[in-house]
Amino acid sequence: MINDIRVGALIAYCSVKRGNKKTLIFIVFVLSLIFMNLVFLPSMIGGLLGLFTGFMQDYPYGDIVIEPTGDNTYINNADNVLKKVRAVEGVRAATKRLDVGASINHKQKVVGVTITGMLPTEEYEISRYPYIISEGDFLSDLSRDEIIIGAMIAGAGFGSEIYDNLGEVRPGAFVDVTYSNGVKRTYKVKGIMEGTFEVVDLNALVHYKEIEDVYGLEGKEATSVVVRVKEQGTEAQIQDKIREAGVNEQIFTWADKSESLIRQAMQSMGAIDTMSKIVSLIVGAALVLIIIYINVLNRKKEIGILKAVGITPRSIVLSYAFLSTFYVSLGISAGLVLYLSLMLYFQANPVTFYETMEVRPVIDPVLLVQSVVTMLTLSVVAGILPAWSVSRESILKAIWGR
């Protein structure tokens, strides 16, 4: 077997060393494109997924979100829940929120929204709401008659032309809000928030106490308790610790929430991704097979001669396995260089969706390893099959065609 390997390696080495260099470059170039096709789309999908999940963490759900059980509208003892949560090791910050439905009216224009009542000071540690005020200021602890409006409904940001909006509302303007229980309030617009995410830019924010007053709550209720952890990746452990601390409400990690929210979109993208991978692999396998098969056919006589002088069929098959592995290794290397160059380009120039959402592709090492292994395995099989077939032919047929 060692002799077979040595001879197979020598035949392959000579074939590469003195073979047609233009053909080699062409083969490697095409294989590099196949490899890139295999890894690029999943990287973009990964980037898109990361963007969505990042939004989910930064705005509605934090790292962990606690919601009422069953049909309950509120967590009835939110302060007690907060106290227990804050005592859990690994929790960085937590706050309570009240989400309600309402309509906002400004100069005969009406828009339906979700208004979130929040404790402004605590939000600095929890979310990015305080940091995305594009005009005016964020709420303060004294903001009892003030409101923050999302850019899309304010008519100031991208998406205003798609969704109903209030028509160029600016900080300082007054809007009338009618809550789902019929209570009406007039608020001064304190700021416009622009998070480049519909869930944010189609909403409005007021002080927690404002919702309490409107709905006649007693200072203990919340529709959600949002938690941030000290260390990313520990969410599931802390979820368990919160349960162990005696919190009996529903506890979700951001991943649970994101999954259910964008599962359908990701499944569709995943299907596209899988189809693209399968097509790339089939095309790649066919190409390697064709390359090696043409190579084998062109050198059928040579294979016959090698057999005639005593070289074993196994050596001949191994030489083609080495050859195709070499082609594919070079193709993968060139593909990696192309891929990483594209990654650098897209990091600096992200793909923009809806003019506001910037998607940067994500390099997934597991995906890269999987793709490399898949292509190498394929190349060995694609290289071996035609060589094995020809090496089994009789010497006379291989050399003289009869």
């Binding site: 060692i2 002799n3 040595r6 001879v7 020598l10 035949i11 000579c14 074939s15 060393k17 003195r18 073979g19 006589k301 040579e302 001669i305 090698l306 057999k307 005639a308 002088v309 005593g310 070289i311 074993t312 069929p313 050596s315 009789s394 010497i395 006379l396 050399i399």
Partner: protein, 234 residues
């Protein structure tokens, strides 16, 4: 050394069957330089291919040094071709992407010799056929005669029991043909190499000890020559 008894080879079946060999018998002794002659289609190349284990007989038997090689399984036939038999093709049959030395030492590597030893053996064989200093040239950089001498070096490097040559000068001019035949003659005279050469050139007879002539798949004549010393090289 070689005993051939009632050897037959038939291609195809039924009415279209071609009987290339119709039951030939002869013996070749160690150290002989034998020419097999005959017109095209007389069966001489078929015989050579069967003896060199490149093809199978459909009847009869043959032995080399007492071993009934015709009945060996394929793996052993491959090993036999590698170690005991040297075969020289009409069209050189070199691997174009390998240098002269690589074409030769490939077989030593296959035999299990070290790279260094294989390379040394290859250089010796190339020197023996007059190609010293041309070991790193690829076939495209060599003349027809030189290519054929590389093919001879490849065949003799493993020191085979028998050297089979199938019209080795068919693609060469007279000068190159003489160079090749001189190499054969030297190998036969200096090293006692047994050589069986198929040829249709009457002047090649000058170089050999014995001439076996075929006609229509049968042995027509078998003549041993009485050589005069120095008769070949004038």
């Amino acid at each position: 050394m070689i005993k051939v008894k009632d050897l037959k080879r038939c291609y195809g079946t039924g009415d279209t069957a071609v009987r290339a060999l119709k039951g030939v018998s002869f013996e070749i002794n160690k150290g002989e330089f034998v020419a097999i002659m005959g017109a095209s289609g007389s069966g001489k190349t078929t015989l050579l291919r069967i003896l060199a284990l490149l093809d199978d007989a459909t009847g009869g038997e043959y032995t080399i040094r007492g071993l009934k090689v015709s009945s060996l399984p394929e793996a052993e036939r491959s090993y036999y071709r590698l170690t005991q038999v040297g075969y020289i093709f009409q069209d050189y049959a070199l691997i174009n992407e390998m240098s002269a030395a690589e074409n030769v030492y490939l077989l030593s590597l296959m035999e299990g010799k070290s790279k260094k030893e294989s390379y040394r053996t290859a250089l010796e064989a190339l020197e023996k056929v007059g190609l010293k200093g041309k070991h790193d040239r690829v076939p495209d950089e060599l003349s027809g005669g030189e290519k054929q001498r590389v093919a001879i070096a490849r065949a003799i490097a493993k020191k085979p029991d028998i050297l089979f040559a199938d019209e080795p000068c068919a693609n060469l001019d007279t000068a190159n043909s003489k160079q090749v035949l001189d190499v054969f003659k030297d190998l036969n005279e200096k090293y006692g190499q047994t050589i069986v050469m198929v040829t249709h050139e009457p002047w090649h007879i000058e170089y050999v000890d014995r001439v076996i002539t075929f006609k229509d798949g049968s042995l027509l004549s078998d003549e041993k020559k009485v050589k005069e010393p120095g008769s070949v090289k004038d």
